[in-house]
Protein backbone atom coordinates (compact mmCIF):
# COMPACT_ATOMS: atom_id res chain seq x y z
CA UNK A 1 0.00 0.00 0.00
CA UNK A 2 1.44 3.35 -0.98
CA UNK A 3 1.60 6.30 1.37
CA UNK A 4 -1.62 7.96 0.15
CA UNK A 5 -3.53 4.72 0.71
CA UNK A 6 -2.06 4.32 4.15
CA UNK A 7 -2.92 7.89 5.00
CA UNK A 8 -6.50 7.57 3.83
CA UNK A 9 -6.81 4.35 5.84
CA UNK A 10 -5.58 6.19 8.89
CA UNK A 11 -8.15 8.96 8.32
CA UNK A 12 -10.88 6.33 8.03
CA UNK A 13 -9.68 4.52 11.15
CA UNK A 14 -9.42 7.70 13.21
CA UNK A 15 -12.80 9.04 12.09
CA UNK A 16 -14.54 5.80 13.01
CA UNK A 17 -12.71 5.75 16.33
CA UNK A 18 -14.05 9.26 17.04
CA UNK A 19 -17.61 8.01 16.52
CA UNK A 20 -17.03 5.13 18.90
CA UNK A 21 -15.34 7.43 21.41
CA UNK A 22 -18.52 9.52 21.67
CA UNK A 23 -20.56 6.37 22.28
CA UNK A 24 -18.09 5.19 24.90
CA UNK A 25 -18.37 8.57 26.65
CA UNK A 26 -22.16 8.25 26.59
CA UNK A 27 -21.98 4.77 28.04
CA UNK A 28 -19.55 6.04 30.65
CA UNK A 29 -22.21 8.43 31.94
CA UNK A 30 -24.68 5.55 32.20
CA UNK A 31 -22.53 2.66 33.36
CA UNK A 32 -19.29 4.23 34.53
CA UNK A 33 -20.81 7.03 36.56
CA UNK A 34 -24.34 5.88 37.41
CA UNK A 35 -24.09 2.09 37.24
CA UNK A 36 -26.86 1.69 34.67
CA UNK A 37 -26.63 -1.14 32.17
CA UNK A 38 -27.61 -0.19 28.65
CA UNK A 39 -27.35 -3.22 26.37
CA UNK A 40 -29.22 -1.33 23.69
CA UNK A 41 -26.50 1.14 22.72
CA UNK A 42 -27.02 0.06 19.10
CA UNK A 43 -30.66 1.13 19.29
CA UNK A 44 -29.91 4.74 20.19
CA UNK A 45 -27.03 4.75 17.70
CA UNK A 46 -29.41 3.57 14.96
CA UNK A 47 -32.15 6.04 15.86
CA UNK A 48 -29.65 8.88 15.74
CA UNK A 49 -28.27 7.75 12.40
CA UNK A 50 -31.68 7.39 10.78
CA UNK A 51 -32.99 10.65 12.20
CA UNK A 52 -30.06 12.62 10.88
CA UNK A 53 -30.16 10.80 7.54
CA UNK A 54 -33.86 11.47 7.02
CA UNK A 55 -33.50 15.13 7.95
CA UNK A 56 -30.51 15.87 5.70
CA UNK A 57 -30.93 13.77 2.55
CA UNK A 58 -32.43 15.35 -0.57
CA UNK A 59 -36.18 14.72 -1.11
CA UNK A 60 -36.90 11.22 -2.37
CA UNK A 61 -39.93 8.95 -2.75
CA UNK A 62 -37.91 6.00 -1.45
CA UNK A 63 -38.09 6.76 2.26
CA UNK A 64 -39.54 9.26 4.67
CA UNK A 65 -38.49 12.83 4.15
CA UNK A 66 -35.45 13.78 2.46
CA UNK A 67 -35.78 17.23 4.03
CA UNK A 68 -32.40 18.39 2.74
CA UNK A 69 -31.66 20.25 5.97
CA UNK A 70 -28.10 21.18 6.99
CA UNK A 71 -26.00 18.49 8.68
CA UNK A 72 -26.00 20.36 11.96
CA UNK A 73 -29.82 20.29 12.08
CA UNK A 74 -29.71 16.57 11.40
CA UNK A 75 -27.32 16.02 14.29
CA UNK A 76 -29.46 18.11 16.64
CA UNK A 77 -32.46 16.08 15.53
CA UNK A 78 -30.51 12.87 16.25
CA UNK A 79 -29.80 14.07 19.79
CA UNK A 80 -33.42 15.07 20.42
CA UNK A 81 -35.05 11.90 19.08
CA UNK A 82 -32.65 9.49 20.81
CA UNK A 83 -33.01 11.52 24.00
CA UNK A 84 -36.79 11.30 23.85
CA UNK A 85 -36.59 7.56 23.30
CA UNK A 86 -34.38 7.33 26.37
CA UNK A 87 -36.93 9.27 28.41
CA UNK A 88 -39.57 6.72 27.41
CA UNK A 89 -37.49 3.64 28.29
CA UNK A 90 -36.02 5.33 31.33
CA UNK A 91 -39.42 6.17 32.78
CA UNK A 92 -40.53 2.54 32.54
CA UNK A 93 -37.42 1.05 34.14
CA UNK A 94 -36.03 3.77 36.39
CA UNK A 95 -37.71 2.40 39.50
CA UNK A 96 -36.61 -1.16 38.86
CA UNK A 97 -33.38 -3.07 39.40
CA UNK A 98 -30.73 -2.42 36.77
CA UNK A 99 -31.30 -5.91 35.30
CA UNK A 100 -34.62 -4.72 33.99
CA UNK A 101 -33.04 -1.74 32.29
CA UNK A 102 -30.62 -4.14 30.61
CA UNK A 103 -33.43 -6.36 29.39
CA UNK A 104 -35.61 -3.45 28.30
CA UNK A 105 -32.79 -1.78 26.37
CA UNK A 106 -31.80 -5.00 24.62
CA UNK A 107 -35.44 -5.44 23.60
CA UNK A 108 -35.65 -1.88 22.41
CA UNK A 109 -32.52 -2.21 20.27
CA UNK A 110 -33.79 -5.40 18.63
CA UNK A 111 -37.20 -3.90 17.92
CA UNK A 112 -35.65 -0.77 16.47
CA UNK A 113 -33.66 -2.99 14.12
CA UNK A 114 -36.85 -4.86 13.11
CA UNK A 115 -38.63 -1.56 12.56
CA UNK A 116 -35.81 -0.27 10.37
CA UNK A 117 -35.84 -3.50 8.35
CA UNK A 118 -39.60 -3.63 7.88
CA UNK A 119 -40.89 -0.07 7.74
CA UNK A 120 -39.70 0.44 4.19
CA UNK A 121 -41.65 3.64 3.55
CA UNK A 122 -39.75 5.30 6.41
CA UNK A 123 -36.28 3.76 6.27
CA UNK A 124 -36.09 2.07 2.86
CA UNK A 125 -35.70 -1.28 4.66
CA UNK A 126 -32.60 -3.39 4.11
CA UNK A 127 -31.65 -1.33 1.05
CA UNK A 128 -30.80 1.50 3.40
CA UNK A 129 -30.55 5.25 2.94
CA UNK A 130 -27.95 6.66 0.57
CA UNK A 131 -26.81 10.14 -0.45
CA UNK A 132 -26.43 11.34 3.13
CA UNK A 133 -24.42 14.58 2.93
CA UNK A 134 -21.02 14.96 4.55
CA UNK A 135 -20.30 17.96 6.73
CA UNK A 136 -18.69 20.98 5.00
CA UNK A 137 -16.87 19.24 2.14
CA UNK A 138 -19.02 16.85 0.10
CA UNK A 139 -16.41 14.92 -1.88
CA UNK A 140 -12.90 14.96 -3.24
CA UNK A 141 -9.62 14.22 -1.46
CA UNK A 142 -10.35 16.73 1.32
CA UNK A 143 -13.68 15.18 2.38
CA UNK A 144 -12.03 12.55 4.55
CA UNK A 145 -9.61 14.80 6.46
CA UNK A 146 -12.28 17.48 6.91
CA UNK A 147 -14.63 14.93 8.40
CA UNK A 148 -11.89 13.76 10.73
CA UNK A 149 -11.34 17.32 11.94
CA UNK A 150 -15.08 17.76 12.52
CA UNK A 151 -15.23 14.42 14.35
CA UNK A 152 -12.23 15.30 16.50
CA UNK A 153 -13.84 18.60 17.46
CA UNK A 154 -17.02 16.73 18.37
CA UNK A 155 -15.06 14.29 20.55
CA UNK A 156 -13.24 17.18 22.21
CA UNK A 157 -16.51 18.96 22.99
CA UNK A 158 -18.16 15.76 24.19
CA UNK A 159 -15.17 14.93 26.37
CA UNK A 160 -15.07 18.42 27.82
CA UNK A 161 -18.79 18.37 28.65
CA UNK A 162 -18.81 14.86 30.11
CA UNK A 163 -15.66 15.54 32.14
CA UNK A 164 -17.16 18.77 33.48
CA UNK A 165 -20.32 16.87 34.33
CA UNK A 166 -18.27 14.21 36.10
CA UNK A 167 -16.55 16.61 38.49
CA UNK A 168 -19.65 18.76 38.96
CA UNK A 169 -22.07 18.24 41.85
CA UNK A 170 -24.34 16.52 39.34
CA UNK A 171 -21.67 13.91 38.63
CA UNK A 172 -21.03 13.45 42.34
CA UNK A 173 -24.69 12.64 42.90
CA UNK A 174 -24.58 10.08 40.09
CA UNK A 175 -21.59 8.34 41.65
CA UNK A 176 -23.25 8.47 45.02
CA UNK A 177 -26.30 6.74 43.54
CA UNK A 178 -24.09 4.11 42.00
CA UNK A 179 -22.18 3.44 45.20
CA UNK A 180 -24.97 3.73 47.73
CA UNK A 181 -28.44 4.44 46.55
CA UNK A 182 -30.10 4.42 49.95
CA UNK A 183 -27.65 6.86 51.45
CA UNK A 184 -28.12 9.19 48.50
CA UNK A 185 -31.85 9.01 48.96
CA UNK A 186 -31.42 9.71 52.65
CA UNK A 187 -29.34 12.77 51.78
CA UNK A 188 -32.42 14.15 50.08
CA UNK A 189 -31.47 13.61 46.46
CA UNK A 190 -34.14 12.69 43.98
CA UNK A 191 -32.51 9.44 42.87
CA UNK A 192 -35.11 8.64 40.22
CA UNK A 193 -34.75 11.99 38.53
CA UNK A 194 -30.93 11.94 38.54
CA UNK A 195 -30.89 8.45 37.15
CA UNK A 196 -33.26 9.37 34.37
CA UNK A 197 -31.15 12.43 33.53
CA UNK A 198 -27.98 10.35 33.30
CA UNK A 199 -29.67 7.79 31.10
CA UNK A 200 -31.07 10.42 28.75
CA UNK A 201 -27.80 12.35 28.44
CA UNK A 202 -25.84 9.16 27.74
CA UNK A 203 -28.34 7.96 25.16
CA UNK A 204 -28.43 11.35 23.47
CA UNK A 205 -24.66 11.15 23.02
CA UNK A 206 -25.10 7.71 21.45
CA UNK A 207 -27.71 9.19 19.11
CA UNK A 208 -25.29 11.97 18.22
CA UNK A 209 -22.62 9.39 17.41
CA UNK A 210 -25.17 7.64 15.19
CA UNK A 211 -25.79 10.89 13.34
CA UNK A 212 -22.05 11.33 12.80
CA UNK A 213 -21.82 7.78 11.53
CA UNK A 214 -24.51 8.46 8.94
CA UNK A 215 -22.68 11.55 7.68
CA UNK A 216 -19.37 9.70 7.76
CA UNK A 217 -20.41 6.84 5.50
CA UNK A 218 -23.07 8.61 3.49
CA UNK A 219 -25.03 5.37 3.53
CA UNK A 220 -26.76 3.47 6.34
CA UNK A 221 -28.55 0.13 6.48
CA UNK A 222 -29.80 -2.06 9.34
CA UNK A 223 -26.67 -4.25 9.09
CA UNK A 224 -24.54 -1.57 10.73
CA UNK A 225 -26.63 -1.56 13.89
CA UNK A 226 -26.29 -5.17 14.95
CA UNK A 227 -25.57 -5.71 18.64
CA UNK A 228 -21.97 -6.74 17.92
CA UNK A 229 -20.98 -3.49 16.21
CA UNK A 230 -23.32 -1.15 18.03
CA UNK A 231 -23.32 -2.39 21.60
CA UNK A 232 -20.77 -5.07 22.34
CA UNK A 233 -17.70 -3.26 21.06
CA UNK A 234 -18.65 -0.09 22.92
CA UNK A 235 -18.93 -2.05 26.16
CA UNK A 236 -15.57 -3.68 25.51
CA UNK A 237 -14.04 -0.26 24.89
CA UNK A 238 -15.34 1.23 28.11
CA UNK A 239 -14.46 -1.74 30.29
CA UNK A 240 -10.99 -2.19 28.83
CA UNK A 241 -10.27 1.53 29.11
CA UNK A 242 -11.70 1.98 32.58
CA UNK A 243 -15.32 2.51 33.56
CA UNK A 244 -15.93 5.78 35.32
CA UNK A 245 -12.86 7.40 33.79
CA UNK A 246 -13.48 9.54 30.70
CA UNK A 247 -9.84 9.36 29.64
CA UNK A 248 -10.17 5.60 30.05
CA UNK A 249 -13.19 5.61 27.76
CA UNK A 250 -11.13 7.36 25.07
CA UNK A 251 -8.10 5.14 25.58
CA UNK A 252 -10.24 1.99 25.56
CA UNK A 253 -11.84 3.11 22.33
CA UNK A 254 -8.46 3.44 20.67
CA UNK A 255 -7.15 0.14 22.07
CA UNK A 256 -10.16 -2.00 21.17
CA UNK A 257 -10.53 -0.27 17.83
CA UNK A 258 -6.85 -1.02 17.10
CA UNK A 259 -7.38 -4.69 17.90
CA UNK A 260 -10.61 -4.81 15.90
CA UNK A 261 -9.25 -2.98 12.84
CA UNK A 262 -5.84 -4.59 13.05
CA UNK A 263 -7.30 -8.06 12.92
CA UNK A 264 -9.48 -7.00 10.00
CA UNK A 265 -6.36 -6.45 7.95
CA UNK A 266 -5.37 -10.06 8.60
CA UNK A 267 -8.77 -11.37 7.61
CA UNK A 268 -8.47 -9.59 4.28
CA UNK A 269 -5.41 -11.71 3.53
CA UNK A 270 -7.40 -14.90 4.05
CA UNK A 271 -9.30 -16.61 1.23
CA UNK A 272 -12.89 -15.42 0.82
CA UNK A 273 -14.53 -18.61 2.09
CA UNK A 274 -12.77 -18.17 5.40
CA UNK A 275 -13.75 -14.53 5.80
CA UNK A 276 -16.94 -15.17 7.79
CA UNK A 277 -15.12 -17.59 10.08
CA UNK A 278 -12.40 -15.02 10.60
CA UNK A 279 -14.87 -12.31 11.55
CA UNK A 280 -16.39 -14.70 14.10
CA UNK A 281 -12.91 -15.29 15.45
CA UNK A 282 -12.45 -11.55 15.89
CA UNK A 283 -15.66 -11.22 17.89
CA UNK A 284 -14.58 -14.20 19.96
CA UNK A 285 -11.26 -12.55 20.65
CA UNK A 286 -12.84 -9.27 21.80
CA UNK A 287 -15.22 -11.31 23.98
CA UNK A 288 -12.33 -13.15 25.60
CA UNK A 289 -10.49 -9.86 26.08
CA UNK A 290 -13.56 -8.47 27.87
CA UNK A 291 -13.72 -11.48 30.19
CA UNK A 292 -10.00 -11.29 30.97
CA UNK A 293 -10.26 -7.60 31.85
CA UNK A 294 -13.32 -8.27 34.03
CA UNK A 295 -11.53 -11.09 35.80
CA UNK A 296 -8.09 -9.60 36.27
CA UNK A 297 -8.35 -5.82 36.10
CA UNK A 298 -11.95 -4.82 36.53
CA UNK A 299 -11.12 -1.14 36.84
CA UNK A 300 -9.63 -1.19 33.31
CA UNK A 301 -6.35 0.25 32.06
CA UNK A 302 -7.06 3.66 33.58
CA UNK A 303 -8.93 3.17 36.86
CA UNK A 304 -11.52 5.67 37.97
CA UNK A 305 -10.02 8.69 39.70
CA UNK A 306 -11.74 9.25 42.98
CA UNK A 307 -12.28 12.93 43.56
CA UNK A 308 -10.17 14.22 46.45
CA UNK A 309 -12.08 14.75 49.63
CA UNK A 310 -12.97 18.37 50.22
CA UNK A 311 -10.87 19.85 53.06
CA UNK A 312 -12.78 20.78 56.15
CA UNK A 313 -14.16 24.26 56.30
CA UNK A 314 -13.82 24.59 52.56
CA UNK A 315 -17.32 23.38 51.78
Amino acid sequence: MELAGLLSYFVFFASFACIYAIMALGLNIQWGMTGQINIGVAGFYAVGAYTSAILTTPPTPEHLGGFALPVIVGLIGAVIVSGLLAVLIGMITVNLRSDYLAIATIGLAEIIRFLIKNEEQVTHGVRGIAEIPRPLVESGPLAGPVFLVVALICVAIAYFLVERARVSPWGRVLRAIRDNEDATKAAGKNVVSFRLQAFVVGSALMGFAGGLYAHFFGFISPEAFQPVFGTFIVWAMLIVGGSGNNKGALLGTVLVWLVWSGTEIFTRLLPADMATQASAARVLMIGVLLQIVLLTRRQGVLPEERPKPIPRGDS
Binding site: G35, I37, I39, I92, T93, N95, L96, R97, S98, D99, Y100, A102, I103, A104, I106, G107, L108, E110, I111, F114, K117, N118, P227, V228, F232, W235, A236, I239, T276, Q277, A280, A281, V283, L284, I286, G287, V288, L290, Q291, L294, L295, R298
Partner: protein, 288 residues
Protein backbone atom coordinates in the same frame (compact mmCIF):
# COMPACT_ATOMS: atom_id res chain seq x y z
CA UNK B 1 -61.71 -18.65 10.79
CA UNK B 2 -62.10 -20.69 13.95
CA UNK B 3 -59.79 -23.22 12.33
CA UNK B 4 -57.19 -20.53 11.83
CA UNK B 5 -57.41 -19.56 15.46
CA UNK B 6 -56.93 -23.14 16.64
CA UNK B 7 -54.06 -23.53 14.22
CA UNK B 8 -52.35 -20.43 15.59
CA UNK B 9 -53.07 -21.58 19.13
CA UNK B 10 -51.17 -24.79 18.40
CA UNK B 11 -48.24 -22.81 16.98
CA UNK B 12 -48.45 -20.62 20.07
CA UNK B 13 -48.27 -23.60 22.40
CA UNK B 14 -45.25 -24.92 20.50
CA UNK B 15 -43.46 -21.56 20.69
CA UNK B 16 -44.61 -21.21 24.28
CA UNK B 17 -43.12 -24.59 25.19
CA UNK B 18 -39.74 -23.56 23.81
CA UNK B 19 -39.91 -20.20 25.60
CA UNK B 20 -40.97 -21.85 28.85
CA UNK B 21 -37.94 -24.17 28.82
CA UNK B 22 -35.65 -21.19 28.29
CA UNK B 23 -37.44 -19.01 30.81
CA UNK B 24 -37.30 -21.65 33.55
CA UNK B 25 -33.51 -21.65 33.21
CA UNK B 26 -33.31 -17.86 33.27
CA UNK B 27 -35.58 -17.76 36.30
CA UNK B 28 -33.63 -20.46 38.12
CA UNK B 29 -30.32 -18.69 37.54
CA UNK B 30 -31.83 -15.37 38.56
CA UNK B 31 -33.37 -16.71 41.74
CA UNK B 32 -30.17 -18.39 42.90
CA UNK B 33 -27.40 -16.20 41.49
CA UNK B 34 -29.33 -12.91 41.29
CA UNK B 35 -28.36 -11.88 37.81
CA UNK B 36 -30.03 -11.85 34.41
CA UNK B 37 -28.15 -14.40 32.34
CA UNK B 38 -27.75 -12.90 28.89
CA UNK B 39 -25.94 -15.90 27.42
CA UNK B 40 -28.94 -18.16 27.91
CA UNK B 41 -30.19 -17.86 24.34
CA UNK B 42 -26.78 -18.81 23.05
CA UNK B 43 -26.67 -21.85 25.34
CA UNK B 44 -29.80 -22.93 23.43
CA UNK B 45 -27.91 -22.48 20.17
CA UNK B 46 -25.02 -24.58 21.44
CA UNK B 47 -27.50 -27.32 22.43
CA UNK B 48 -29.15 -27.35 19.03
CA UNK B 49 -25.78 -27.64 17.26
CA UNK B 50 -24.48 -30.27 19.66
CA UNK B 51 -27.47 -32.42 18.72
CA UNK B 52 -26.71 -31.77 15.06
CA UNK B 53 -23.35 -33.45 15.50
CA UNK B 54 -25.09 -36.71 16.43
CA UNK B 55 -28.02 -36.35 14.02
CA UNK B 56 -26.08 -35.33 10.92
CA UNK B 57 -22.71 -36.80 11.83
CA UNK B 58 -23.76 -40.24 13.04
CA UNK B 59 -27.20 -40.42 11.43
CA UNK B 60 -28.89 -41.05 14.77
CA UNK B 61 -32.44 -39.89 15.58
CA UNK B 62 -32.92 -36.71 17.61
CA UNK B 63 -34.08 -38.63 20.65
CA UNK B 64 -30.62 -40.19 20.89
CA UNK B 65 -28.91 -36.87 20.22
CA UNK B 66 -30.87 -34.97 22.89
CA UNK B 67 -29.17 -36.48 25.97
CA UNK B 68 -25.80 -35.79 24.39
CA UNK B 69 -26.75 -32.17 23.74
CA UNK B 70 -28.02 -31.79 27.30
CA UNK B 71 -24.71 -33.12 28.57
CA UNK B 72 -22.69 -30.80 26.32
CA UNK B 73 -24.58 -27.68 27.37
CA UNK B 74 -24.49 -28.65 31.05
CA UNK B 75 -20.72 -29.06 30.78
CA UNK B 76 -20.39 -25.74 28.92
CA UNK B 77 -22.53 -23.99 31.54
CA UNK B 78 -20.48 -25.42 34.40
CA UNK B 79 -17.23 -24.54 32.66
CA UNK B 80 -18.38 -20.94 32.31
CA UNK B 81 -19.57 -20.90 35.91
CA UNK B 82 -16.26 -22.17 37.26
CA UNK B 83 -13.96 -20.14 35.05
CA UNK B 84 -15.80 -16.82 34.92
CA UNK B 85 -19.02 -16.41 36.87
CA UNK B 86 -17.74 -17.80 40.16
CA UNK B 87 -14.64 -15.59 40.35
CA UNK B 88 -16.78 -12.58 39.38
CA UNK B 89 -19.42 -13.28 41.99
CA UNK B 90 -17.52 -11.43 44.71
CA UNK B 91 -18.25 -8.20 42.87
CA UNK B 92 -21.73 -7.00 42.05
CA UNK B 93 -24.34 -9.01 40.10
CA UNK B 94 -24.24 -6.23 37.50
CA UNK B 95 -20.72 -7.24 36.51
CA UNK B 96 -21.98 -10.80 36.07
CA UNK B 97 -24.67 -9.52 33.75
CA UNK B 98 -22.12 -7.72 31.58
CA UNK B 99 -19.87 -10.74 31.60
CA UNK B 100 -22.77 -12.94 30.48
CA UNK B 101 -23.49 -10.52 27.66
CA UNK B 102 -19.90 -10.96 26.53
CA UNK B 103 -20.28 -14.70 26.98
CA UNK B 104 -23.29 -14.67 24.66
CA UNK B 105 -21.14 -13.30 21.87
CA UNK B 106 -18.30 -15.69 22.63
CA UNK B 107 -20.64 -18.68 22.38
CA UNK B 108 -22.22 -17.39 19.21
CA UNK B 109 -18.86 -16.75 17.55
CA UNK B 110 -17.69 -20.21 18.59
CA UNK B 111 -20.76 -21.74 16.94
CA UNK B 112 -20.05 -19.72 13.80
CA UNK B 113 -16.43 -20.84 13.81
CA UNK B 114 -17.29 -24.51 14.19
CA UNK B 115 -20.45 -24.86 12.13
CA UNK B 116 -20.47 -21.85 9.80
CA UNK B 117 -23.02 -19.11 9.45
CA UNK B 118 -25.60 -20.73 7.19
CA UNK B 119 -28.96 -22.33 7.91
CA UNK B 120 -29.02 -26.02 8.68
CA UNK B 121 -31.74 -28.56 9.47
CA UNK B 122 -31.86 -31.90 11.28
CA UNK B 123 -33.89 -33.61 8.57
CA UNK B 124 -34.43 -32.26 5.10
CA UNK B 125 -37.66 -32.77 3.27
CA UNK B 126 -41.21 -31.94 4.21
CA UNK B 127 -42.86 -33.60 7.15
CA UNK B 128 -46.39 -34.69 6.35
CA UNK B 129 -48.73 -33.05 8.84
CA UNK B 130 -51.49 -34.93 10.56
CA UNK B 131 -54.78 -33.37 9.50
CA UNK B 132 -57.66 -33.11 11.93
CA UNK B 133 -60.54 -31.23 10.38
CA UNK B 134 -58.99 -28.12 8.88
CA UNK B 135 -56.08 -28.15 11.30
CA UNK B 136 -52.64 -29.46 10.41
CA UNK B 137 -50.33 -30.71 13.13
CA UNK B 138 -46.76 -31.68 12.39
CA UNK B 139 -45.45 -34.72 14.30
CA UNK B 140 -42.53 -32.54 15.41
CA UNK B 141 -44.97 -30.22 17.15
CA UNK B 142 -46.42 -33.11 19.11
CA UNK B 143 -42.90 -34.15 20.11
CA UNK B 144 -42.08 -30.63 21.28
CA UNK B 145 -45.23 -30.30 23.38
CA UNK B 146 -44.93 -33.79 24.85
CA UNK B 147 -41.22 -33.33 25.52
CA UNK B 148 -41.82 -30.03 27.30
CA UNK B 149 -44.59 -31.51 29.45
CA UNK B 150 -42.32 -34.39 30.41
CA UNK B 151 -39.42 -32.08 31.33
CA UNK B 152 -41.66 -29.79 33.36
CA UNK B 153 -43.14 -32.74 35.25
CA UNK B 154 -39.63 -34.01 35.99
CA UNK B 155 -38.56 -30.56 37.18
CA UNK B 156 -41.64 -30.36 39.39
CA UNK B 157 -40.81 -33.67 41.03
CA UNK B 158 -37.21 -32.56 41.47
CA UNK B 159 -38.08 -29.21 43.05
CA UNK B 160 -40.82 -30.56 45.33
CA UNK B 161 -39.53 -33.92 46.49
CA UNK B 162 -35.75 -34.16 46.34
CA UNK B 163 -33.27 -32.85 48.83
CA UNK B 164 -31.51 -30.65 46.29
CA UNK B 165 -34.78 -29.41 44.88
CA UNK B 166 -35.83 -28.22 48.31
CA UNK B 167 -32.38 -26.73 48.88
CA UNK B 168 -32.72 -24.87 45.60
CA UNK B 169 -36.06 -23.40 46.58
CA UNK B 170 -34.63 -22.42 49.94
CA UNK B 171 -31.74 -20.65 48.26
CA UNK B 172 -34.12 -18.86 45.92
CA UNK B 173 -36.04 -17.56 48.93
CA UNK B 174 -33.05 -16.41 50.96
CA UNK B 175 -29.46 -17.19 50.07
CA UNK B 176 -27.96 -16.14 53.41
CA UNK B 177 -30.50 -18.09 55.41
CA UNK B 178 -29.91 -21.12 53.21
CA UNK B 179 -26.17 -20.88 53.73
CA UNK B 180 -26.33 -20.69 57.52
CA UNK B 181 -28.76 -23.58 57.63
CA UNK B 182 -26.01 -25.71 56.17
CA UNK B 183 -27.17 -26.00 52.57
CA UNK B 184 -24.15 -26.71 50.33
CA UNK B 185 -24.74 -23.62 48.24
CA UNK B 186 -21.98 -24.12 45.70
CA UNK B 187 -23.22 -27.63 44.95
CA UNK B 188 -26.77 -26.30 44.57
CA UNK B 189 -25.45 -23.68 42.16
CA UNK B 190 -23.81 -26.43 40.08
CA UNK B 191 -27.06 -28.36 39.94
CA UNK B 192 -28.93 -25.20 38.97
CA UNK B 193 -26.54 -24.74 36.04
CA UNK B 194 -26.98 -28.36 34.99
CA UNK B 195 -30.76 -27.96 35.00
CA UNK B 196 -30.75 -24.52 33.37
CA UNK B 197 -28.23 -25.66 30.76
CA UNK B 198 -30.00 -28.93 30.09
CA UNK B 199 -33.36 -27.22 29.63
CA UNK B 200 -31.70 -24.64 27.37
CA UNK B 201 -30.28 -27.48 25.26
CA UNK B 202 -33.75 -29.02 24.94
CA UNK B 203 -35.25 -25.63 24.08
CA UNK B 204 -32.59 -25.21 21.40
CA UNK B 205 -33.29 -28.64 19.93
CA UNK B 206 -37.03 -27.98 19.91
CA UNK B 207 -36.47 -24.59 18.32
CA UNK B 208 -34.32 -26.18 15.61
CA UNK B 209 -37.00 -28.85 15.01
CA UNK B 210 -39.65 -26.14 14.72
CA UNK B 211 -37.59 -23.84 12.48
CA UNK B 212 -33.95 -24.37 11.54
CA UNK B 213 -30.44 -24.14 12.98
CA UNK B 214 -28.70 -20.82 12.74
CA UNK B 215 -25.96 -19.23 14.88
CA UNK B 216 -28.27 -16.41 16.04
CA UNK B 217 -31.33 -18.60 16.64
CA UNK B 218 -30.96 -18.50 20.41
CA UNK B 219 -29.99 -14.85 20.62
CA UNK B 220 -33.15 -13.96 18.69
CA UNK B 221 -35.20 -15.81 21.29
CA UNK B 222 -33.53 -14.12 24.26
CA UNK B 223 -35.98 -11.22 24.41
CA UNK B 224 -39.14 -13.40 24.40
CA UNK B 225 -37.47 -15.71 26.95
CA UNK B 226 -36.79 -12.79 29.29
CA UNK B 227 -40.29 -11.50 28.64
CA UNK B 228 -41.67 -14.89 29.65
CA UNK B 229 -39.58 -14.95 32.82
CA UNK B 230 -40.62 -11.41 33.77
CA UNK B 231 -44.30 -11.82 32.93
CA UNK B 232 -44.34 -15.01 34.98
CA UNK B 233 -42.50 -13.35 37.84
CA UNK B 234 -38.72 -13.57 37.62
CA UNK B 235 -37.26 -16.16 39.97
CA UNK B 236 -40.39 -18.30 39.87
CA UNK B 237 -39.95 -21.46 37.75
CA UNK B 238 -43.69 -22.12 37.66
CA UNK B 239 -44.31 -18.53 36.67
CA UNK B 240 -41.80 -18.96 33.85
CA UNK B 241 -43.85 -21.86 32.48
CA UNK B 242 -47.04 -19.81 32.52
CA UNK B 243 -45.22 -16.76 31.16
CA UNK B 244 -43.69 -18.79 28.33
CA UNK B 245 -47.05 -20.15 27.28
CA UNK B 246 -48.69 -16.74 27.49
CA UNK B 247 -45.96 -15.01 25.47
CA UNK B 248 -45.80 -17.84 22.92
CA UNK B 249 -49.54 -17.82 22.29
CA UNK B 250 -49.65 -14.02 22.19
CA UNK B 251 -46.78 -13.91 19.70
CA UNK B 252 -48.38 -16.39 17.30
CA UNK B 253 -51.91 -15.03 17.68
CA UNK B 254 -50.69 -11.51 16.93
CA UNK B 255 -49.80 -12.58 13.39
CA UNK B 256 -53.52 -12.43 12.58
CA UNK B 257 -53.49 -8.67 12.92
CA UNK B 258 -49.90 -7.46 12.59
CA UNK B 259 -46.84 -8.15 10.45
CA UNK B 260 -45.25 -11.43 11.66
CA UNK B 261 -41.88 -9.65 11.69
CA UNK B 262 -43.10 -7.89 14.84
CA UNK B 263 -43.74 -11.02 16.91
CA UNK B 264 -40.83 -10.00 19.15
CA UNK B 265 -42.37 -6.60 19.65
CA UNK B 266 -45.47 -8.30 21.04
CA UNK B 267 -43.32 -10.09 23.61
CA UNK B 268 -41.61 -6.79 24.39
CA UNK B 269 -44.92 -4.95 24.76
CA UNK B 270 -46.26 -7.58 27.16
CA UNK B 271 -43.06 -7.37 29.16
CA UNK B 272 -43.19 -3.58 29.34
CA UNK B 273 -46.86 -3.70 30.33
CA UNK B 274 -45.96 -6.14 33.12
CA UNK B 275 -43.14 -3.90 34.30
CA UNK B 276 -45.49 -0.94 34.48
CA UNK B 277 -48.55 -2.61 35.99
CA UNK B 278 -47.14 -5.39 38.09
CA UNK B 279 -43.31 -5.52 38.14
CA UNK B 280 -43.34 -8.67 40.24
CA UNK B 281 -45.06 -10.61 37.45
CA UNK B 282 -48.07 -12.88 37.65
CA UNK B 283 -46.52 -15.17 40.24
CA UNK B 284 -45.08 -12.47 42.51
CA UNK B 285 -41.43 -12.98 41.75
CA UNK B 286 -38.69 -10.74 43.01
CA UNK B 287 -38.45 -7.23 41.68
CA UNK B 288 -36.43 -4.13 42.45
Amino acid sequence: MIGDIIQLLIYGIVTGSILALGAIGVSLVFSILRFAHFAHGDLMTVGAYAALVIVAGLGMPIIVAAPFAVLVVAVVAIAIELSIYRPLRESSPIVLLISSFGMALILRSAVQLIWGTGNQVYASGIQLPIRVGGIAIKPDHLWIIAGTLGLIAALHVFLQYTKFGKAMRAMADNVDLARISGIPTSRVIMIAWIIAGGLAAMAGIFLAMDTRLHPVMGWQLLLPVFAAAIVGGIGRPYGAMAGGLLIGVAMEMSTMVINPAYKQAVAFALMVATLIVRPTGIFRGSSL
